[in-house]
Amino acid sequence: MDAIYLLFILLLSIFVGFELIQKVPATLHTPLMSGANAISGITVVGALALAGSDRMGEYSTYLGAFAVFLATINVVGGYLVTDRMLAMFKKKQ
């Protein structure tokens, strides 16, 4: 039942994603992609639980910590790069 419940969430989010992106103009495709890329760094949340636990053995803690490190680069770099790009999109003075 748990799997079905998770699949429901997946299905609905995919539909929301399709609806949201379909209307975005080509002008914004690059910032959109890099913004979405930053969102995909959400893996950090999963990695945190693995890195912080002491019940799971040292090996997996190190792996989790490395995943936190990587995902943080993805998140921080992704959002900053997107912001830099978007700061350049200006209206005509």
Partner: protein
């Protein structure tokens, strides 16, 4: 996770909030005037999700986390600050690859952390491992191609399709061993770590094989496809960890990447499979020789050519990126506008090496986004003069279009980009420009 405590409730409630903010953020990203706010909103959502996760009862040691997050943040900030605006395609694809690798490590750590698994968990963990690995190595190859560390062209070798088919079969077999592991271990004397490492190796190899045959002008499609994969990898990791926010955010990214890919394929009049697999078809070298003399123009010179025009449409391409001609183009635009001419930019969805590449470059040169038009809009108004900023597109222009090359573009791009005389170049032109209605049927030269 077994007993629901108040903390768990608070965490999950905050996840719902974060998911809503992600959705609003993406929605605001849909318009230039609100896009920055949208990005901020989605960053806040990420912050909420991360901070709230820290309160999880399972997390007891913060030392490793603090070190990892600090180091990651520093590298992320430095990378985002130092990178040149023109190197954005490489940067985005590199960050994307890192995200994929993170998902791979999450999957790996999940396997190491537990000993009891259901088949469902093993399947999704394997998927996270596979997609994460493919995203990582594929993005690395894309990065190397974009930054010209390896040839940007389609790279093929004899027996490639046979090799890839074998690889897919091998991956399926490894997946079977991986998932069936708890019950089968007694029958098959293979250590699970061997299966795990093999799976990761195959995933990385598959990513490389996927991107190698895709050349130059098709890169935007691949980048956006890999972007979608990194979301799907996070999503699969979410299934493995039973974490809702991972599933929601991951599938939002996955869906957005797939939509972007679809839009770009449509603009090239090609199907996705054609883009992905055309590199596997036989490569025919052509003996086209570019004749004639190359004369660079400055913005002023170009202005004199276009002085009589009332309306000028600029169609920028990869050449503009290579030659860094956006500033020269802006100069020309100002000269023309002072002269009373109307200047508009026509942006093909796949121009450049990344979706929206041209828009970013022009924005850097302070060109207003209101002057940038998409293909369907601009086709209604193209009439008089078109300036092309392309590596070699002049070959395919209808003769009535006056064209000129601004500044040193031509000099710089003659041997780069599409002008390499291979099938990749011809393929991309025919399909790409076929989508401009006024252009189709007028292509007289084929490379």
């Amino acid at each position: 996770m077994i007993e629901t405590t108040t903390t768990d409730l608070v965490i999950n409630f905050s996840y719902v909030l974060a998911a809503a903010l992600f959705i609003f953020g993406l929605k605001l990203l849909g318009h230039p005037s609100s896009a920055r706010k949208g990005n901020l909103l989605s960053a806040i959502a990420m912050l909420i999700a991360i901070v709230v996760t820290m309160f999880d009862n399972n997390i007891v040691s913060f030392q490793m986390i603090a070190i990892a997050m600090l180091a990651g943040s520093i590298i992320g900030i430095l990378a985002a600050r130092m990178i040149a605006m023109t190197a954005m395609p490489e940067m985005v694809s590199l960050l994307n690859g890192i995200g994929g690798l993170a998902s791979l490590f999450v999957a790996w750590a999940t396997v190491e952390a537990n000993s009891e698994f259901t088949a469902f968990t093993m399947i999704v963990t394997f998927l996270a491992l596979l997609i994460g690995g493919v995203t990582f190595s594929g993005s690395l190859i894309a990065w190397a191609k974009l930054s010209e560390r390896i040839s940007g062209r389609s790279i093929t070798f004899a027996g490639q399709s046979a090799f890839n088919s074998l690889l897919v079969l091998a991956i399926i077999f490894t997946a079977y061993l991986f998932v069936a592991q708890p019950t089968m271990l007694a029958d098959i004397p293979i250590d699970f770590n061997v299966v795990l490492c093999t799976a990761m190796g195959f995933a990385l190899l598959f990513g490389i094989m996927l991107v190698l045959p895709i050349g130059g002008a098709d890169m935007p499609v691949v980048i956006s496809l890999l972007n979608s994969y990194s979301g799907l990898a996070a999503c699969a990791a979410g299934f493995a960890l039973h974490n809702n926010i991972l599933i929601v955010a991951g599938s939002l990214v996955g869906a957005s990447g797939i939509i972007l890919t679809k839009i770009m394929c449509k603009a090239m009049n090609r199907s996705l499979s054609n883009v992905l697999f055309s590199g596997f078809m036989s490569v025919t070298k052509t003996d086209m020789v570019i004749e004639g003399e190359v004369k660079p123009l400055s913005a002023e010179d170009a202005y004199y050519v276009l002085e009589a025009a009332q309306s000028v449409v600029v169609i920028p391409g990869y050449g503009m990126a290579v030659a860094q001609a956006q500033h020269a183009m802006k100069e020309l635009q100002q000269l023309l506008e002072e002269n009373g001419a109307e200047v508009a930019y026509a942006i093909h969805p796949v121009a450049g090496r990344m979706p929206g590449h041209m828009n970013v470059l022009l924005a850097e040169a302070d060109v207003s986004y209101e002057q940038l038009f998409e293909m369907d809009e601009i086709n209604k108004r193209i009439q008089i003069v078109v300036v092309l900023l392309h590596a070699g597109d002049y070959l395919f222009l209808p003769t009535i279009w006056l064209l000129c090359f601004v500044d040193q573009i031509f000099k710089n791009t003659l041997n780069k980009g599409f002008s390499d005389g291979t099938i990749g170049r011809q393929g991309c032109f025919d399909h790409r420009w076929g989508a401009w209605p006024r252009c189709s049927g007028r292509q007289t030269v084929s490379g």
